[in-house]
Symmetry: C2
Subunit: 254 residues, 2 copies
């Protein structure tokens, strides 16, 4: 009934895996190895022509884009609710999704790709990677891979990414002063969507997000990590192997 | 009850103005002059600290981000419905919103800013503009203005923007082969959100979108323009003065 093509512990895949687990939904897990360009294999591109991961297949219907998938899951499986009933809180929830999709996801990806993914890919066969990337239809995504694989991002791009992260964290601090969760008094897709990026910060941006610099975000993150579904989603498991050793070993230095 | 701070005929403002008109909602129009940096005035930043336009204020609640505002309007004023009832079509609708927010909006803005906004702003007082831009909190938005105001975008950035537009148009052609509107058989927020970008293409990307290159998109656009609410939204009016003369006179050349 539900099949999830995903890449385990990556930002985008965590978003959807967590929503599925919070709703207690069983799904068939199909792991896609990004470092082997499996998301650009003809087989996967036949399912999702954008070559993006994750993809949800529900009774044969293909649903893509993490924020869209999470709202789709909410539409189809409304219990337990992860979307506030109040329209203003719901708009706030969607505003957080937008912040992640437009800014935070890319900013975190820039840091992680620069320090983790790039060094791994640079050891591989260039010709093969180029051939795979030529099958990636979205120009901006292709360029991100090429930057990570080749020269790395510029100092200005890395600095901009850190500015976007600092901006997002400041907004989170303000929101968490006003209410317990990001969209209001209740846990929602806002927290899930933002967590997917914030959970990488202890590795890639620990000077920006910590108990002193962002006390409310730090406490919120501890509260999130205490949720059984979050713990399960972020743990190494059969469906979520450890990230590539080089990526995991890279020391965040900017 | 409803107050809309907006910039008339700009991409982002068209999205929300059109939704309001399709739903027949009365609102108080407050026009923000972007070329005068009114969106970065202390008064406006007190309402929307991001300095982005439009902003909807509904019974005192401030709602920002166009896609979020449009879903909010649907949540509060469900008649006539602009969101499909079927979850798969609804996901498709949100996928189009995502495409606009992540790719198409920025691609069209890059072309329009390079050729229209930049030349207008470069005639103005640099010091005053710099002072205003320093108040824009989102780093990526600040950089976009600075690029438009100063050197303009690079040839590579302009070429990338055109690639993203071509990618979006190809996706539209495929969707419009399968159904009359972008998300399915019925007009929806997908069409509204995408129209906001496509309606600029006859000016800025006429070689990419025309009756020969993209026949289905072209026909869809004519069908959209025949809707009274679309015609009203895109027409010069009291709430939507003509775009700055320099911008309107700029010839698209790439």
């Amino acid at each position: 009934m539900l099949i999830l093509y995903h890449a385990g512990l990556t930002q985008a895949s965590i978003k959807v895996r967590l929503t599925l687990k919070e709703k207690g939904l069983a799904y068939e897990s199909r792991f896609i190895r990004l470092m082997e360009q499996e998301h650009l294999s003809p087989g996967y591109l036949a399912i999702n022509p954008d070559g993006q991961v994750p993809t949800l297949v529900h009774d044969g219907n293909v649903i893509t884009e993490t924020t869209v998938i999470n709202e789709y899951l909410e539409d189809c499986f409304p219990e337990p609710p992860l979307r506030p009933a109040d329209p203003v809180e719901r708009a706030r929830m969607r505003g957080w999704g937008q912040l992640v999709d437009e800014h935070l996801f890319h900013a975190m990806a820039t840091l992680a790709w620069h320090q983790g993914v790039g060094p791994v890919l640079r050891k591989k066969d260039n010709v093969e990677i180029d051939r795979a990337l030529a099958r990636l239809p979205l120009p901006s995504k292709r360029q991100k891979w090429l930057k990570a694989v080749r020269a790395g991002f510029t100092a200005e791009e890395l600095s901009n990414a850190r500015d976007e992260i600092a901006f997002s964290l400041a907004r989170m601090e303000r929101a968490l002063t006003a209410h317990t969760y990001l969209a209001g008094p209740a846990y929602s897709l806002a927290d899930i969507n933002v967590l997917s990026s914030v959970q990488r910060m202890p590795r890639w941006a620990s000077d920006l997000m910590n108990a002193t610099a962002t006390p409310r975000v730090f406490t919120w993150l501890q509260r999130m990590l205490a949720r059984p579904a979050v713990h399960e989603t972020l743990s190494v498991s059969d469906e979520a192997p450890p990230l590539p050793p080089d990526a995991a070993a890279a020391t965040p230095q900017l």
